[in-house]
Assembly symmetry: C2
Homo-oligomer: 414 residues x 2
Amino acid sequence: MAQVEIITIGDELLIGQIIDTNSAWLAQQLNLAGFAIKQITSVSDNREHILQALELAESRANIIITTGGLGPTADDITKPAFAEYFQSGMRIDEGVLADVTAYLTQKGRQVGENNRLQALVPEKCTVIRNHIGTAPVMWFEKNDKVFISLPGVPFEMKELSSSRVIPKLKERFKTPKIYHKTVMTNGLPESVLADKIKDWADALPEYMKLAYLPSPETVRLRISVSSFEQNIENMVNEQIDKLQPLIGKYIFAYNDEYLQETIGKILSQKNATMATAESCTGGSIAQLITSIAGSSQYYKGSIVAYANETKMALLDVPGEMLEKFGAVSKEVAEAMAKGAIKRLNTDFAVATTGIAGPDGGTPEKPVGTVWIVAASKDKVISRVYTMNIKRDINMRLASSAALQLLRFLILEIE
Amino acid sequence: MAQVEIITIGDELLIGQIIDTNSAWLAQQLNLAGFAIKQITSVSDNREHILQALELAESRANIIITTGGLGPTADDITKPAFAEYFQSGMRIDEGVLADVTAYLTQKGRQVGENNRLQALVPEKCTVIRNHIGTAPVMWFEKNDKVFISLPGVPFEMKELSSSRVIPKLKERFKTPKIYHKTVMTNGLPESVLADKIKDWADALPEYMKLAYLPSPETVRLRISVSSFEQNIENMVNEQIDKLQPLIGKYIFAYNDEYLQETIGKILSQKNATMATAESCTGGSIAQLITSIAGSSQYYKGSIVAYANETKMALLDVPGEMLEKFGAVSKEVAEAMAKGAIKRLNTDFAVATTGIAGPDGGTPEKPVGTVWIVAASKDKVISRVYTMNIKRDINMRLASSAALQLLRFLILEIE
């Protein structure tokens, strides 16, 4: 497999002002395209240091990709460093000059001398024009090795890599076919999930790779195949079918669809509506649901009832019930869900009430105790969870658990 | 200034599965402690490659810090690589063994042979024990250079660096005194802010560095001084005082205090309460406010009124008003804020109504149009904003704008 090295250039990376997300993105995309990454290096805007990094990378890899250091100011010196490395003179590229002029004109800005200099490129490079910014991609070849300079602005780098650079690299180097599919699960901690699917994972063919990608809410299982064979999609799907009897109910979607999108699709298909009644999640569920464009079709709103007074006034939770069972109780959670269905006039509702922390716990109801209810007009499911981590994580976990519980209720999953 | 190189070790970094946030965090903290970062390198769990990276780093820097590759499994080979680099045998460290045993016992897990191997360290290193995990810090010295191996788990790495490693490095190397203060602003775009403070920024003494750290909601201005002089705190504070007449009203706090915390402090001081009535922000403001521990003292809740029906039923917005002016209007936003004060029985409320996008815009009210209102029982401030970016960013911008407007109302800032 062709080996790639990525060199990110810029002082801002070395003082920790900016986290280098470019190289992680590039590494991921290049992997998916069938290339192996040998090393990632971040260096400052320093001539000698850039030259040394290029030389060392050339000694290890077939393809060397740099990002950054292409701005119009004097501290950006990637271009002269490349010219020196390839012992090349400079020329004005008329295509790049046209792009820079068009870009600045469109933004209502003047073309200054600094901008004209952006059209100056080493004579020995092939230019790939940048249709969404000012710095072009420069492509050099030397002894069967390829050197590519990309702009450092993330959205330009990503767009140019996806549409121009990676396709061109795939033509230039022989790469295997890659297929991957992600299984989205909610409700099983990573270690429990791993136990449940251990035999399945052990029996996967050797050319199939399994990665656990956990977040507080969701454990994503990514199955990848890299092969020169055809028909690899079917090979992956056959294995995924075998997961159904093991963890089927926890799988809500595939390929980076999140629970709030799944819930939206389910409700749209049924032409149904929902509401939320949130205490300890404090609006987090509402925020997740409304993050999806078009959610106003099925989502009528939330009553974030942080105070007991609000639970009584807006969700019709009886004062005696709060008195008798406390705000964090099954009874109150169920009353909140029913109150939301009635007050917001919906088919479904979820409700949460709990102790998000860090204070407010008691021996009986420690921090992290959360009652979650999903309800329709004639059915209720209630669960209590103990998620004693950090306040923000507790809130995220409770929000996703509520959405999963609603999915179980609507789809009648036991 | 002492030069540092950071080497992050792990295959997962090179396939883009994990974004290397460790090195950015370390670079930032080391900079603030008075060290300069020369290079950041990510390499795979490969013996030769690690040895080469150590050798190259030694040729350029005074301090070489590695993270990762210290797990109990066979693919983690940082430890033998260090032993080989320093031509050192291995020994069992009893302190580390005690830590590993205590850590696993506390988690209810058995100590296996793999775990015992975690107590094996090169003879030539000094061990810094890890009180929150299993992999110890290893500290090597060679020809006036220091080599440090840190665990890769971010929270362990951060805790051990802050409490043990950076203090020890500051004793070992002469470092300048560093002071920095961050000015938190909301309400001025970065370019407008930069214009307003241009003369001030140009007049800053040369030894004072200004960094703009923009996010959608907040532009943070970080002023740093690195000096062997005393009294540098006063030097920074004197400059910050001069910002007041220029951008005073937009400054809500210092040193990474966020607007939701500022609002919480203001309300607590006044012993006052607030509520929110959210349409286009969909619970985001509630989520921000309740992210602060103790917010139940001043926050009673939110009515997330996504549907017009909900605005009428729960916030008493008259149907005729919605008919006449539309949901996205000054009139409706003000009625929502008043409805929230009444229904949730609070001193203050904020309300939002707008078109978050990507669809739903009209020529008169394009996507991104948002009415925001802050109200008390006898005062109302209303503003219309046009923030046409992406749905999620629109919602974040509108939420922070609402909190800033509430701050203006409560503090009577014109």
